[in-house]
């Protein structure tokens, strides 16, 4: 991957694999990316979540970056919103916990009890 041509070649291969992917009505995952989150290590957490979501082909899941959620001491914070808008907040998320959030909460609808924000307050 050194030139734009390499990237274009890759695009052509990819576009054959991806056909219909437009449903975006599922879960929404947000990661706090303000100064507090970034200093606490939110960047690798966001990358881990993006990787897990796309590796598992979870095309109806949206991952987005937001500002300060208001609990700076408990960053990195990850929130999962379900289709009805109900919110589950995870605090002090590590890479392992991020993987668990995707694998058990998002894929199997089982909340990861160990890192719920309520347990840190």
């Amino acid at each position: 991957m050194k030139t734009l041509e390499d990237l274009k070649k890759m695009r052509d291969e990819m576009s054959k694999k991806i056909s219909l992917r437009e449903n975006k009505n599922g879960l929404r995952v947000v990661v706090g990316m303000a100064t507090c989150g970034i200093t606490a290590g939110a960047r690798p957490i966001l990358t881990t979540i993006l990787e897990e979501v796309s590796k598992n082909n979870l095309t109806d899941v949206t991952v987005s970056q937001v500002g300060c959620i208001g609990e700076c001491a408990l960053e990195p914070i990850v929130e999962v919103y379900d289709a009805e808008g109900k919110r589950t907040t995870y605090a002090k998320v590590t890479k392992d916990v991020a993987r668990k959030i995707v694998q058990s909460h998002i894929m199997n609808h089982e909340v990861v009890m160990s890192n719920l924000i309520q347990s840190f307050k």
Partner: protein, 183 residues
């Protein structure tokens, strides 16, 4: 912050909040005076001259859930500790630009860090915002932008796993020779 790439990630989020649609991140390496200049400029809502003066204070913020705002003050600290400075210029409705300059051979200079990850995450923040990244030294330059990537990958989402890996690798391979300036 442990490196400048995290500062860039943080500062560009200020531009996102200022409704910018075009953000330029330029890193210029001056090999003769071993200076590194990081500048971020946007076309967001901008600030009045009073706001420009107060934004360097840790006790100034626009958010309402906290009384402190540490992004710019921490960036100032990271630059000043390496014999540098930070300059903020802005005008309402035109945009804001922040420039940080430091001596990369100074013992207290932070490393540049994982630029490819920062740039990738900023590019996928929104498909409506054009993030332009420029990295140059006295001899060579590299440029990449959200629009350019969207055109290259037409119809394929930039968040596909393979594409994520490819874009990061593309950035890394192209900036490595400039980064070697630091060694």
């Amino acid at each position: 912050m442990i490196d400048y790439s995290l500062h860039i990630l943080d500062l560009v989020h200020n531009s996102f909040k200022a409704n910018a649609t075009k953000i330029t991140i330029a890193i210029e390496i001056d090999m003769i005076h071993h200076k590194c200049k990081i500048s971020i400029s946007d076309n967001g809502i901008g600030m009045t001259s009073e706001e420009v003066t107060s934004c360097i204070s840790p006790f100034y913020t626009k958010r309402t859930n906290r009384k402190v705002g540490l992004g710019i003050p921490l960036f100032i600290q990271s630059c000043e500790q390496a014999d540098g400075y930070v300059q903020v210029t802005s005008s309402p409705n035109k945009g804001t630009s922040i420039i940080g300059c430091y001596d990369y051979h100074h013992i207290d200079a932070l490393p540049l860090g994982d630029l490819e990850e920062t740039i990738y995450l900023l590019m996928i923040y929104s498909s409506e915002i054009d993030v332009i990244f420029e990295f140059s030294n006295n001899e060579t330059a590299f440029q990449l932008s959200t629009m350019q990537m969207q055109q290259t990958f037409q119809g394929v989402s930039l968040t596909e796993y393979e594409i994520m890996v490819a874009i990061k690798e593309y950035i890394k391979n192209n900036i490595n020779n400039i980064r070697e300036t630091f060694l």
